[in-house]
Symmetry: C2
Subunit: 271 residues, 2 copies
Amino acid sequence: MNPSSDRRQITGFSNPTVKYLRSLRDKKHRKAAGKFLAEGLRLLTDARECGHVPEILVMASGRDPHPLLDALESDVTAAGGEVIETTPDILGKITGKANPQAVAGVFAEFDTSLASLDRSAAPIWLVAQALRDPGNLGTMLRTGDAVGAGGLILIDDCADPFSVEAVRASMGAVFTQKLARARWDEFLPWLRTGPGQLVAASLRDAVPYRGAPYQAPCFILVGNESQGLPEEYEAACDLRVTMPMRGRADSLNAAMAGAVLAYEVLAELEG
Amino acid sequence: MNPSSDRRQITGFSNPTVKYLRSLRDKKHRKAAGKFLAEGLRLLTDARECGHVPEILVMASGRDPHPLLDALESDVTAAGGEVIETTPDILGKITGKANPQAVAGVFAEFDTSLASLDRSAAPIWLVAQALRDPGNLGTMLRTGDAVGAGGLILIDDCADPFSVEAVRASMGAVFTQKLARARWDEFLPWLRTGPGQLVAASLRDAVPYRGAPYQAPCFILVGNESQGLPEEYEAACDLRVTMPMRGRADSLNAAMAGAVLAYEVLAELEG
């Protein structure tokens, strides 16, 4: 049987399914539906190889054939999902990009409770406080993937990790990294129920970041893009480290500081 | 004399000066005018302290008074520049932000020729090839500032460092870092006319990035966000280094890789 016979064809912008898919670009609708959008064959293939099969697969008509796309389509159908074929214009409306990737998928949001994390599963965890930029958030997921971190814990009011921008910037790491969301007064007690060193870049009472006594599992805490970490959050850390600042600025971009620190921790732990 | 008496008041969206200022958000018009926009009191104060006084200063009416703004206004007037007061709505139109900062300035673009660089002025220089994202570009400027780099050299077709987005992401580092733009076949001969080690992150024929034999002045070359460096560019480097990649992805965000490498080079050079 030709797999294309299972595809639902949609050609109208006002189709209710198109409206539903477009609505997932909006945080409120994502939250209500518990679903999110990811786009691009490479990202969807990464997702599939990590065990995440989209519930709905949307393909542009007239795209180039690809064996990975065929494999994806088979998996979606086998899992009882839906495959939709539509025009590139409509796909662009759904993903909000003028030149959309040829394929997008709808996934169920993951469990983002602290209880879902196994802290012993990785030597490094990234923790972001009030990170507002979805691009920074996605980049931190990507950095976590690169250093072999277990996941990203979002403290207080952060950008939505399931936004199209964050998913895009994560380059697929949203599927390889665990995600958790918590208030500070939930996170800290949870952390203290087991092993875990909380480390922050700081200007106060800190040791040089290079060669500092990092210990696994090491939780690297990065603060808000413009305010940095609240003083009491810094004070609660087990280790405060300083990074050289040779110029006029007194801080790095939050995602950047996280990456430099994460690579340092990786090197020291593996020393 | 009250400085406010020198301020030109503009209240109409269709005013030609407003149109001119708005046009500077567009690359073509920036290039034709040789000017660019920067916004925010902190950024303009950084600029002033680095010797860059705006040719035109635009202030929102009804903003809070501030001694730094007074100082800026005096300097602009003393340098023969123009001070404009307008409504917050019009200022928002000019900067493209719904909640604009209370002040913006127009600056003359800098000399971005290789000849304007003094390579002996700093131990580290960042070099980006075909960097397309203005946010990444601004972030690299900020990283350069943090590690005490001399500047950022843009190779081939990069985002415009004078775009509002790049200037904003640089957090003022556009005024502290030197900027140069060149084709690869201009850059490489220029580099070879003096001391300078060209280093790239690479997967081929490379040594671990940690503890590699870096030498000042060290030129850290970072490739395009999606394609990475062309093979012949990598081959022309004096040193190729690998960074650990523990996850599914085979690369870091370009600005992130640049930051991790720049901090490593800084630590090794100062070892």
